[in-house]
């Protein structure tokens, strides 16, 4: 049973969301239980302290005219229940999608002035339901930390990783883009395994993406059109292989 907390300073909205949750529960058989219908953050925290839960679903209005406000409440909940699934209730003008996602790792949000509340709540709960399905076998992946943020890459989407000269920084080149994060290559090399080759000092390249090599400037050609420079010392060995 997943516990659901709803907090909005207007009772009508608490009721409407609770109704939508119940309705979804009946259709999709998601085992949820509304344990708290609160009008203020203090009530939510009280309720939580009486019966702590983990991995609960929290519908929180961000514009509670109280202290702590919705964002601060969310931060507190995140500390108390690290697996919390946060869903914010907001208006179009107050919407802060990136802040919700990056700062509070929010699952989703509901906009009051968008209409069709039921469909929005259903969308959020559907999101939760899918996250509960047994996951398929995990691919190999590496996780890089950047301050409080984490970023996980599947090894197959990485093209190459190079260290920034004179800095403890890594530059990860993937299918989607480039990511900079603090770190050193040595620790990553062990995690990445044998698919990754050192082609020059400070560059680890994914062998699966190499399609050829160019002897004129000693570079490896990757299947996304990028080129990766090779050192003089390692060139003969790598050129023979590709």
């Amino acid at each position: 049973m997943i516990s659901v907390f709803i907090c909005d300073d207007e009772e009508a909205w608490v009721r409407r969301i609770a109704d939508a949750v119940t309705e979804y529960q009946d259709i999709c058989e998601l085992p949820v239980n509304i344990v708290c219908r609160a009008l203020s953050p203090a009530e939510v925290l009280d309720c939580f302290q009486k019966a702590p839960v983990s991995g609960g679903i929290y519908f929180l209005d961000i514009d509670l005219k109280t202290s702590p406000d919705g964002l601060e409440l969310a931060q507190k909940i995140r500390l108390l229940d690290p697996g919390a699934r946060l869903i914010f209730i907001t208006t179009h003008d107050e919407l802060m999608a990136e802040t919700f996602r990056l700062k509070l790792q929010a699952l989703d949000y509901i906009t009051k002035d968008k209409g069709d509340l039921c469909a929005q709540v259903e969308g959020c709960l559907e999101h939760v339901r899918r996250s509960l399905l047994p996951t398929q076998k995990r691919d190999f992946s590496v996780t890089l930390r950047l301050g409080s943020l984490r970023r996980t890459f599947r090894t197959e989407e990485i093209y190459y990783i190079c260290s920034v000269k004179g800095q403890h920084k890594l530059e990860v080149h993937t299918r989607a883009g480039i990511f900079l994060a603090p770190g050193t290559l040595n620790t990553l090399q062990i995690q990445l395994g044998a698919d990754f080759l050192t082609c020059s000092k400070g560059i680890l390249v994914n062998a699966a993406h190499i399609i050829g090599c160019d002897a004129s400037d000693r570079t490896l050609l990757l299947d996304n059109g990028e080129r990766c420079p090779c050192s003089v010392r390692l060139w003969p060995k790598i050129a023979r292989r590709f």
């Binding site: 964002l71 003008d93 919407l95 802060m96 999608a97 990136e98 802040t99 990056l102 700062k103 950047l146 301050g147 409080s148 943020l149 970023r151 093209y159 920034v164 000269k165 800095q167 403890h168 920084k169 080149h173 989607a176 883009g177 480039i178 990511f179 900079l180 994060a181 603090p182 996304n224 059109g225 990028e226």
Partner: protein, 434 residues
Amino acid sequence: MFLLSSFLSAGFSMAGFSILLSKRMKKTGLVLLGTYIFLFYIFQDASLGQWNTLLLVSGALVLVFWSTEKSLLDTFLSLTGYLILTLVDSLFFMIRSWSIFPLQRFHAQHPIPFALADLFLGTAILLCLRRFYLRLIYASLAKASPRLLFCFFSLLYLCVILIVFNFLYGRASSFSTRQIIINGVLVTVLSLCIAFVFFNMYHLLEQEQELSLQQARLSVMQDYTERMESLYEEMRSFRHDYKNILSTMEHYIDTGDVGALQVYFHEKIQPLEPAFSRDSFLLGKLHLIGEPALKGLLYTKLIAMLNHRLNISLEISERIERFPMDNLTLCRILGILLDNAIEAAVCSVGQTISLAIIRAGSDTLFVIGNDSLPPPVPVSRLFERGCSTKEGHAGLGLATVRELIEPLSNVFLSTEWKESYFSQTLTIQGEELP
């Protein structure tokens, strides 16, 4: 003996040409320069007389220009270094000639110790100059206009010519000491005057630039204030409407006329929603930015977005004061990223652009996103110098961003293109400065 003295002279010139440079020369460049100067001293054609020195200087400067990636400033500094050493050398000559000891005779008999002393003293002077003065102003010198640099470069070159034909030539063809010294003093005074004029002019230009920057900032802030004032006016008129609405509703409720109340609500109140212009509301969010330069930059970029009628999303959740990063660098980076985002969003289908400024723990995040057509090259290649997705553009923007970020150990940029959305996240690590 000849080899040794040539080696010392070459070392002397080499020091002059290379010590004052603002960035390191390529290793190959340094080796080439050294070899060139050394070989020149050995194989120079004595019949050319002082033309040799001019040839030496010109050749060395070409080499420096090439090996510092065509930096006019470094070539200029290189020539300055050489000139300073030559002047130091001439000063030593004057001291020797005027000294009560017969130093000049010693010099003629034992040139090597004197050359060594020249080399050490000259190098020390240049190193001090670099360490205590130039290093502090390299960054601002780099902004000097190429035209100004070129003018002064020509003047310095003229000085070198004067020195060569008045002083060195004089020494070689035994002018009287008096004549040589007068020439030396004249050339030294001229060189110092040029240096004086250059630095004054340079500082003057710098001040003027700063002034015009301030003026631009002021006009942006004025514009911003006007917008906020008009928002206040809108709010005042809304307050008036709102009181009217309340009293009308009160009347309907008191008389129990629910039907009339319903009609009134749907016809009069609901359409009132867009009473505030969304533009001013959006710009008002900038009040959370405490840093005037950043606020000004964001304001101008938001106005540009509004002018292009883009769908804008702006998120600033907390008050943002200062960052553990140079303000000007941050503004340059954000300026480039936002300009790119605006241009790409204008050409895209969805025309959406978003900017979020988030404080997460001790980090500050700037998340810039825009709808975009798929980039024609892999995302990571966009950062290469000369790579541009737009026709007729030099493709310097993102390359500059990369150069600005590279030396900063607490600043990280991630760039991503996914499902026709391009997003860039700039992370500044560390606490806010007090």
